[in-house]
Each structure stands twice: as structure tokens, then as C-alpha cells.
């Protein structure tokens, strides 16, 4: 184990190096670029024995990884924003073939207008694609999640591709100390590549051909079932990882000071750190509030939310993306989860903020969470939905 000061992007590059996928294919896009630049450097210097396919587009980046994964190789790609949208067609294609692979998504606002700052719009746009969707809070978790992603993806109970998100610049280009596990240990823990079938010419196999409605539905239903079993696998992998490498995060969600909390703030990504800081201040002021941070958006941690939110007085959800004409995507899923037990429904509020990279501070969180708690305490109906704008 070594400790290095790494940007979030380089933390992912190092994770990939430890895993050593046979094939890497990627196309540059801000703010993802430094992941593949670092990997190219590692490959060219002989530090990493992977084949780098320098493709001409993101569509081809994922397509090439898909081909490599079908052919029995571990494969990795990384992208952002427009690049992710450009490859979106293939994103769906990969999961429906049940082929394990890993992609890093360094979040950046979907354009137009041109904007390179982060929100979760690109990541959330992949919601229905059948990928396991994880999101890190800091650079260490970016590294750990990337390694875990390969293990989860290749678990026979899952056999689905995994995307790992981090915010561009906020994590992507910000340096933090990161512990890099021992390479041998990572390889040993991952074991040899596992996948449901291999296309290697040894016996005829057809993948993705014309299929009648009932059989197609079978395939889709299988993805839904595997998403459910993935919940157990994600938790098991996180526990195993904790035993092997000393860090464990809690599975699908991270519960921060929420065990005894009356109120819950729900979030995902780097700004959860600011939210936790706000919660610490509010705790000092006597507010019994905690944070439930989503580490995984798909499968959606319905059970965790029912458990924690179901026994709280109020839940405020911070979304860094918006479904125009509705509300934040996490909120929508959370309400759907809690509505399973309507008798225990807490007071609810959704705040969409930080859109297009607008900076949200811990003071902003403190103000918003406090306002929410106070309105519930006073017996008022809290703001149900608000797009919090700083001007």
C-alpha cells in the first residue's frame, strides 16, 4: 500500500492500473481527459500491460470495449457529458448483452450552451440503461469504487456493466491524499475474468440478434432481477473490500449521523461532504439531523431509504439534476420508495441545486436544511419542491 496525492481522475487511472484490464478504449473529453492521458502514459511506459485502442469517438470507445469484453477481456472506458450522450445507444446495448465491464463518468453538465462545470445531468441521463450506477464522494472512494466495480460487474449474480461517477473538477481535478492498495492483492481479490459467455469462435453463438417480444422481455426481466441481487452483491463486495483493504463504505448508501436522526438529508456525490459539514454544525445547534448518501443510484437503495427515512420526521432530498417539467430524479425515486409504507411517510422536500456547476456551499446546505426542519417543527408544510438558485 502506498499513499499518493492524486486528483480524482488520476485516482481512477490508478484503480484501472491495479485491475489491469486487457483493453482500454477512450476518446478525450473535458473533464475526463486526464484519466486516459494517465493510462496512455502508463501503457506507453510499460507500467501497465493493457492494449489502448485510441478510437475516433465515444460511440466507438464503448463499442470497442463491448467487443473486447465479448471476446473475454476486461475492458474499461471513461467519458463525460456529450461523450456519454454520444455513446448512449451503446450504453443500452452493453447491458442487454449482460457483458461485464466498467466505465468512469466524470460528470459535466449536458450542453448547450457550452459549459464544462459539473452537475449530475449526464449521469442521471443513463438511468434506464440497465447499468449498475455508482457515485463517489471523494478521490479515495473513486479509486475504491472503480476496483469494486469490476468485482460487482463480474459477479455471476450480477453480470451487468457498472459506471462509476465523480464530479468533474470538484473531484476530477482536485488533489487529495489517496491510499493505493497493493497491486497483487487487488488482482488476487478480483481473480480471473468472469462473464456469462465468450465469443471466441470456438462454438457458434449469436449475440443481440432478432428476438421475438416474449424472449426480449425475458432478457429485460433478467436485468431487473439481477439489479435486485446486485444489492446483496454490492454490500458483500464492500464488506470484503473492507476486510482486504481496510476501507468499507456501507454498501448502497452511506449513513452519516443518521442512526439517531429525526431528520434526514439525502444526497449523492462530492457535495455530500459539504452537506455533512452543514449537518455537523446543525447538530451543534441541537438539530438531530443526518445524511444518507447514495453510493449507488441503480439499483436504487429502496430498502435503505425505507429503513432510515421511514422512521424520520422529515426528509429533504438534494438533487444536482432536474427532470425538466418534474423534479429531481433522486427525489422521484425516493418518494416512490417511501410510498410503499404510506402510514410512515415523513414530511418531504426536494431541492434542486448546483445545476450547471453553480457552487453550493455548506452554508447554503445549513440554511436550507434548517429551514426545512423548522417548518416541519412548526407544523407548517415545508416547501415540496424548489429549484434553489443563487441569483
Amino acid at each position: 500500500m502506498v499513499r499518493k496525492a492524486l486528483t480524482g481522475n488520476h485516482a481512477i487511472s490508478y484503480a484501472v492500473k491495479l485491475v489491469k484490464p486487457e483493453v482500454i478504449a477512450a476518446y478525450p473529453i473535458t473533464p475526463q481527459t486526464s484519466i486516459v492521458e494517465k493510462l496512455s502514459e502508463m501503457v506507453e511506459s510499460g507500467e501497465l500491460d493493457s492494449t489502448m485502442i485510441r478510437v475516433e469517438s465515444e460511440h466507438s470507445a464503448l463499442a470497442a470495449c463491448y467487443g473486447a469484453a465479448l471476446a473475454g477481456a476486461r475492458a474499461f472506458t471513461a467519458t463525460s457529458s456529450q461523450g456519454l450522450l454520444y455513446m448512449h445507444e451503446v450504453v443500452h446495448w452493453v447491458s442487454r448483452a449482460r457483458i461485464p465491464m466498467v466505465m468512469a463518468v466524470v460528470s459535466r453538465t449536458i450542453n448547450a450552451p457550452w459549459n464544462i462545470w459539473p452537475d449530475h445531468s449526464d449521469f442521471m441521463d443513463q438511468r434506464d440503461a440497465g447499468w449498475i450506477m455508482a457515485y463517489a464522494m471523494d478521490n479515495q472512494e473513486a479509486l475504491d469504487l472503480t476496483i469494486q466495480a469490476f468485482k460487482i460487474s463480474e459477479d455471476p449474480e450480477v453480470y451487468l456493466p457498472v459506471m462509476v461517477g465523480i464530479e468533474g473538477f470538484i473531484l476530477g481535478h482536485t488533489t487529495m491524499p489517496v491510499e493505493i492498495p497493493d497491486e497483487e492483492l487487488v488482482r488476487e481479490w478480483l481473480g480471473p475474468r468472469r462473464q456469462p459467455y465468450v465469443v471466441d469462435g470456438s462454438s457458434p453463438i449469436g449475440v443481440g440478434g432478432l428476438t421475438m417480444p416474449e424472449e426480449t422481455e425475458d432478457i429485460f426481466h433478467g436485468i431487473q432481477e439481477s439489479m435486485e441481487s446486485a444489492k446483496r452483491v454490492i454490500e458483500r463486495v464492500d464488506r470484503e473490500y473492507g476486510r482486504m483493504f481496510g476501507r468499507s463504505y456501507g454498501g448502497l448508501t452511506q449513513c452519516y449521523r443518521c442512526e439517531d436522526a429525526d431528520y434526514l438529508a439525502v444526497s449523492m456525490g462530492a457535495w455530500s461532504g459539504d452537506l455533512m459539514e452543514a449537518v455537523n454544525k446543525l447538530r451543534e445547534e441541537g438539530y438531530r439531523v443526518g445524511v444518507l448518501r447514495l453510493r449507488f443510484y441503480r439499483p436504487f437503495p429502496r430498502e435503505d431509504l425505507l429503513e432510515h427515512a421511514g422512521r424520520s420526521k422529515g426528509v429533504v432530498v438534494f438533487d444536482r439534476a432536474v427532470s425538466f417539467g418534474a423534479w429531481g430524479p433522486i427525489f422521484a425515486d425516493l418518494v416512490a420508495s417511501l410510498a410503499e409504507r404510506p402510514e410512515k411517510l415523513p414530511a418531504l422536500s426536494n431541492i434542486v441545486a448546483g445545476i450547471a456547476g453553480v457552487n453550493i456551499t455548506s452554508e447554503d446546505f445549513e440554511k436550507l436544511v434548517k429551514r426545512f426542519i423548522e417548518s416541519v417543527e412548526k407544523g407548517e408544510k415545508p416547501v415540496y419542491f424548489e429549484w434553489f438558485r443563487k441569483r
Binding site: A25, I53, Y66, G67, V199, G201
Partner: protein, 301 residues
């Protein structure tokens, strides 16, 4: 003129490579092409097929009529998926599996052009076969950039296509890949030997296979081979190989270097309903492009 090469033997068991249960129209050139590909490249062949007639022709899950591995991929993705497969085999030390892209002209000349160019430039170890039926036949006969001038399609329904056919083989030659060839379903021996050649070369190989479509070109299904042969005999479709910056005219096309040996282009045109309303200037344009193509060939042989 060089002596005609002896015809290579096409294995008699090539029927076993194509099984019953395909969904091809009568007279479809696709199974004709597949039989030759499979005979030439053998069992250890992986076909990467983007959206095109072949995605349907091969049959419906759980069966498939092509006795090989098939990876069906999104429309523009075939060259890049094939690149990934080829690189993975390379890394895994699997050297005896042929990776073949089998794509139509829409998937090649239009929506797949960027990824084709990318794979060619990277010189990935694949054989790319563009079966050229000169329109989007799978969606019901719409024009492609490979549709010839003057041809009726459902998106050029009144006056026929006003633009000329895009020459993809020349675009591939400009990429300076190790092997580019043209072929025709009417000349399976020629196609077979080109596939064998392609198989022996490492890197990116491109073969454009002329594949007349009875439904889309409006001729009776028993005439597929006849139409394909006429394209060569009129000099309109020239069979050649391009390798090491040199062009070699293939046996069936050699006589037509001499313009007097060529049949009139009208013979080819008149067999096809798609040219029923061809404007005279479009016909002249096609004839002119035949001449220009031969001029180009002469410069390179």
C-alpha cells in the same frame, strides 16, 4: 495481359455453413455471399453485423441460419466492436479466429463511415465486407450515398437519385490499408480467392461486394447473378485488388480494360425497374463515370 489465375476450389461442404431457416427474400445475394465467406474463412469466424438486411436474414432467436458466431451491433458500431474483439484476441493470444464485419452500404458508406475510417486508420486486424445493394433495403429501399445516380428509391421516388454513387473502395484506398478489393456475388471464385488473400494479411482488409437486390432494384429474383454479372461485363463494376500501392485487375474484369469488349451499359440499366425513369443525362453521367473509373484503373495497374 497476364494469364487468368486458376479457379480456387470452393469446398463442397459450403452448404453446411448456411443452415435452413433464413429469412431472405427470393434471389437475395446475402446468403450467396455468406456461403463463400464461410467457405473461405472456415468455422472460426466471428461475424460482426450492424443494422442491415442481414440482421433479419440470418433468422430469429433462438436459431440462426449462419453456422458461425454472430455479434449484432448498433448501426454505426460494427468497425469499432470488431476492433475491440480483434484487440482482445490479440491480447489473449487467439490468433486463429477471423473477425469479419459484414455490413450493408448504409452502415458502411453513411452512418458507419466515421467508425470505418477509424478502424482503417488504426489498422485493426479485421476483414470488413461491405455488401453493396446500393440502398437502405432493410427499411424498405431508401437511397444511400451508395445508390447510383438516376435510381429510383422510396426517398427518390419521382426523378431518381440526383447525386452520383459514393466510391467507398477508393476512400479505403486513400486510408492506405493493407488490402482493398472489389468483388461480386456473380463471381464466387474471385470473391473466395480475395477472402483467402485477406485472411493471410494482418491489419485492416476491405472488400466491397456488389450485391444486386431483386426487391430494391426491381428485377425478377432469378436474375440476381445475371444482373451482377452484367455490372462487370458492362465495365460498370470493376473487380480489382489494391495492395502495396498497386492495383491488380481481377480475372473477370480483365477483358473489359478494352472498351470494345464491354457490353453497353443500357443492357444492365434496362434489366432493372429502378432505372425505368432514368433521365437521359443521368444515364450519360453513369456512362461517363464508367470511363473515368477505367481511366483511374489504368493509372494504377
Amino acid at each position: 495481359m497476364a494469364q487468368a489465375r486458376p479457379k480456387p476450389p470452393i469446398p463442397y461442404d459450403m452448404r453446411d455453413s448456411f443452415l435452413p431457416g433464413d429469412a431472405a427474400c427470393s434471389g437475395c445475394p446475402i446468403p450467396m455471399g455468406w456461403k463463400v465467406v464461410r467457405a473461405a474463412l472456415g468455422e472460426k469466424t466471428v461475424f460482426v453485423i450492424p443494422a442491415c438486411c442481414s440482421s433479419v436474414v440470418v433468422g430469429v432467436y433462438p436459431g440462426q441460419s449462419l453456422n458461425s458466431s454472430i455479434v449484432h451491433v448498433p448501426f454505426a458500431a460494427a468497425p469499432s466492436v470488431a476492433s475491440g474483439i480483434a484487440e482482445a484476441y490479440e491480447k489473449r493470444g487467439l490468433r486463429d479466429v477471423n473477425v469479419v464485419v459484414w455490413a450493408g452500404d448504409g452502415g458502411t458508406a453513411d452512418i458507419g463511415m466515421a467508425s470505418l475510417s477509424g478502424a482503417a486508420e488504426r489498422n485493426n486486424n479485421i476483414i470488413y465486407i461491405m455488401y453493396d445493394n446500393e440502398a437502405y433495403m432493410n427499411t424498405g429501399i431508401q437511397r444511400s450515398s451508395s445508390t447510383p445516380r438516376g435510381a429510383w428509391t422510396t426517398t427518390t421516388p419521382v426523378s431518381g437519385k440526383t447525386e452520383q454513387k459514393k466510391d467507398v473502395a477508393k476512400i479505403m484506398i486513400a486510408h492506405d490499408v493493407p488490402y482493398v478489393a472489389t468483388a461480386s456475388v456473380a463471381y464466387p471464385h474471385d470473391f473466395y480467392s480475395k477472402l483467402q488473400k485477406a485472411r493471410s494479411i494482418r491489419g485492416f482488409k476491405f472488400i466491397q461486394l456488389h450485391a444486386p437486390c431483386p426487391v430494391g432494384w426491381r428485377f425478377e429474383p432469378q436474375y440476381t447473378v445475371k444482373v451482377a454479372r452484367l455490372a462487370v461485363e458492362t465495365g460498370l463494376w470493376i473487380l480489382y485488388e489494391y495492395q502495396g500501392r498497386r492495383l491488380t485487375l481481377s480475372g473477370p474484369s480483365r477483358p473489359y480494360l478494352d472498351p470494345s469488349k464491354r457490353k453497353p451499359v443500357e443492357e444492365y440499366i434496362r434489366m432493372q425497374g429502378r432505372f425505368r425513369n432514368i433521365p437521359p443525362e443521368a444515364l450519360e453521367d453513369i456512362k461517363r463515370s464508367v470511363e473515368l473509373n477505367w481511366e483511374w484503373v489504368k493509372k494504377l495497374i
